[in-house]
Structures are given as structure tokens and as C-alpha cells.
Amino acid sequence: MKPFLSIEKLVQKFPNGNGGEMTVFENASFGVEKGEFVVILGHSGCGKSTIMNILAGLADPTSGCVIMDGQEVKGPSLDRGVVFQNYSLLPWLTTLKNVTFGIKARHPEWTKSQVEEHATNFLAMVGLEGDVIHRKPSQLSGGMRQRVSIARAFANHPKLLLLDEPFGALDALTRGTIQDELLKIWGQMEQTVFMITHDIDEAILLADRILLMTNGPYARVAESVEITIPRPRNRTEIVEHPNYYAIRNHLVQFLGKRSKELAGQPTEASKTNKPKTVRIDLTDPTEDPENKRSTLKAVNS
């Protein structure tokens, strides 16, 4: 049985500028289940945005394919909503119009008042109400713009929501607020989310599973780390969970050391090249303390 979203042997090569070729990643394969929140972590330049653009259908891979819901991804679609890193709001439209823009595309048959009501609801969900929604993006703060962008994507109920470093440009406080809002909406909607980030704590707070990428070129999706912290999560409480630091240490280790060690190896070892599943759970009563070390290492699926 194939997962909801299946990425199969994706290869991306770019011309390297000297007439040659540069392989960003090779044979990247992984799956995402319906309703899952998957975060991808990796160093700058390893190819995360490239993967996301391919998932969105905005770019074509050199080879390999993406299958969603049994259909191959060919070109962009309303079924895959994208929140771009730089918000990509249309600056000549008001906040409300930016959201209705998306809804009108999704539901051309709706009346104007239906569209506006729907948009207003979703803007309220991200905490934008009243006068603000009639302002242009240039008159909003960075955090508010990002919320509009999130509202626009969520309002369309895409089957898959793609977020490319959505909070990259925000200060820590605003980041926290919007992360909470994102979790809240996601909790209500059973939305499948695929998100890129640089922030380890953000990844642990949000994700069901974190994919770890090695450095490029020839980057690989090396591991899939399950976040064994129950939901609903809360930024102040999760740090007290016994698994939190174990998982965090694993991620820091990977990004700090192993992402380099594993980098640059053209793959032949495992043909399918599925990431290793890593499950770290110190609270699991079925595991005795002796097993913990091995659990910490890796469980191959």
C-alpha cells in the first residue's frame, strides 16, 4: 500500500556553470501519510526548496516522480497549497482580497458574499480581524503578512500544504505566536503538511516526523525521526517531556556531524534509498533500559 504522498527516486541535476552538471540530490525517496505533519531539516543548499518546488509542481525533476493520492504530480494544482518563504502576497490587493483571490480560484461557483465570509473566517483564525483585513500587505508587519499567506493556503483546503521556511523572516516572539496558530488550525483540519525549516525546536514542536537531509551535492534524505511526544503540544511543556532532549540531541548530532560524514556519497548501497526510521522513546514501558542505547541508534524499517 502506497502512502498518500510518495516521492520516488527523485534526481535533480543543475548545470554547474562550467558546462558540467551538479547533482543536488539523487534517488531521494520517501513517503508522507495522510494527515501527517512532516518537517524536513537540512543545511542550507542541500536541496530542500528544490524538493518543495517539485512537490508543488512548479519545477520538474531531472528524473523520478511524485505521486499524490495515486496520481503523478504534473504541474501546479489547487490540491497542493504553497506558503512561500517571502509570503508572496499580491501587494496591490488588500489582505482580504489576497485571501479571496485564492478562494475564488478554488470555488468559482461561490457568490461574492460566500467567498468573503469564508475568507474572513480564516483570517480570524490566524488572528486578523477588523480594519486590518482592508489594509494592503505593505501596511502589515512581517508576522501579519505571513499569517495572511497561511490563511490563504488553509482557506483552500488543499490536500497537501507545502511550507517553505514560513517563519524564517520572523522574530522569535512572532514566530512562537504563529507556530501556535498553525498547530491550532492543523489540529482542527487534519491537513497533510510538508514543511521546511532551519529551526530544530520549531521542527520538534510541530512535526510528527522529521526528515533529515545530508549535505549536498549528492544529498540524501538519510533519516526519518519520529517525534514521540504526544499532542497537543505546547512550547513550554514539551521541553519537560523526557523524549525532548533525547530527540533534540539526535537532531543536533546529525546536523552538526553526521550530515557532513554522510555527504557526497553517490548512492549504490541501498537501491530504494528509503530513509532509516529512527524512533526515540524513553517513556516506552515495553523497552527495558538496556535496549535504550540501541533504540537511540536506529531501527531500520
Binding site: 509542481g57 512548479l58 501546479p76 489547487l78 504553497v82 508572496s88 499580491l90 483571490f101 485564492g102 505593505s138
Partner: protein, 277 residues
Amino acid sequence: MGTLSLNQRAALLSVLMLVVGLLIWEAAIPAQKAVKELTEYEILTGAGSPKAGVPPPSQVIIKAWDQLSDPFYDAGPNDKGIGIQIGYSIYRVLTGYLLAALIAIPFGFLIGMSQVAYKAFNPFIQVLRPISPLAWMPLALFIIGDSEASAIFVIFICSIWPMLINTAFGVAGVREDWVNVARTHELGPIKTAFTVILPAAAPTILTGMRISIGIAWLVIVAAEMLVGGTGIGYYVWNEWNNLDLTSVVFSILMIGVVGMLLDAMFGLLQRRVTYAE
């Protein structure tokens, strides 16, 4: 005085400069008044034949009052009110200009969308653009035959380039992110063109339209001097032939005022489509 705003002070200064300028002008031309004091007899015999001289502002103001109180009178081919003459000029400018816009904007749109087209057309545009529009006049007169249509053609040819170039430039420069927003919302090419590319490029397109209308208004005066018959350019030339410099100065001022109004109109439109990023 300290309570006046910046704009108020600037306006005050403008009025002051105007008054001082007019006074200096008036004072610099003392002899003209004498002409009016000649007797009927002297004028008829040509004794005091008014030597064409630059009129003082007072005379221009009287002339302006005179003309503007009845701008639309029509007393034969050589004697029409200033309103009628300006009307003819505006009609020609707008006709040529709108024809140019009708072609330049859609065409510029297509060129801007395709890098190949942009590069392929660029050399032609670069060669055709610097040609003085009046240089087309003989060719236009020969091919079109009609002087009226030739004047409109000259306006057409001079206003097409800034609109074409600015439209292509504006469309080519639309941020890829915005186009991607359209793509992820599955908008078709027509819908994308109207809901994303057009509003995104509108400020640049309007800049081109504003430059074009300015050039068209500059060129119409020269074109009408050549083709004759009607229009503000013809009027200036005709009054010069009549040695009526007061009318010449008055019509120069009118050309300036109309040009300013046309520009202000497009400035207003431009402000409406401009957005802050």
C-alpha cells in the same frame, strides 16, 4: 509666518515669483503702449505700422480674457476661437494616442512574456524609436495622402514607443513569485494576465503612457504647423504670419496649460495603480 505649512510657503513663493517676473517683463517693454495711441489715420497710412514686438504681460492678459470669454467662436477658416483650435489638437492627439495604446499595450504584453520575442524585436524598436516623428511626415503624406490622417499618424508613431517599451519591460519584470501564486491557484494564461501580470506591471505601463502623452502633445504643435488648417500649432503659426505676437504668447501659454492638464490626468491614474511592496 512660522505657522505656514511647507506647501503654503511654496505657494506663496510661487505667486511672488510670478508677480515679480511679470513686473520685470512689463517694465522691460515700455514702447509698445505707444502703438495703441496712434490715430486711426496713422495706422491706415502705415505710418505707425506696428513693428512686431514682444507684448507686455498686461496685453497678453487682456488677450487671454478676450479669447477665453468666447473660446468657441468660428469666423471662417482663419479665425476660430482658441477653444476650437485646442479641441482639434486634442482630438488628433487622443486619436493617434489611443490607436498607439491599442497596439502597443497588447503587443508589449506579448513581447514582455517571451524572452525570445523581447530579444528579437528589440533591435527594431531601438532603431525606430529615436526617429523624430516629423521625419515620417513626408512619407505619411505621400502614402496616406490626407493631411489630417497624416498628423494623426505622426502622433501614433511617436506615442507608440514609450508605451511599447514600458509595457514589455513591466511585464518582463513581474516577480516570479507572483506568477507562481497564479500557477499554484491553477489560473489560466488569460486569467493570469489580467489578475496578476497586468496589475503588477500597471505602474510601469502607466509611466510609459504618461511619457507618450507628453511627447504626443509636444509633437502635435509641430505637426500642425506643417499640415496647417486647424489646431493650436496652426494657430500659433497663423498668428505669427499675422505678426500678432500677443496671440502667439497667449497660445504658447495655452499649450503649456493643456500639456500640464494632460500630464496631471495620467499622474492621477498612475497614482491609482501604484502599489507599495
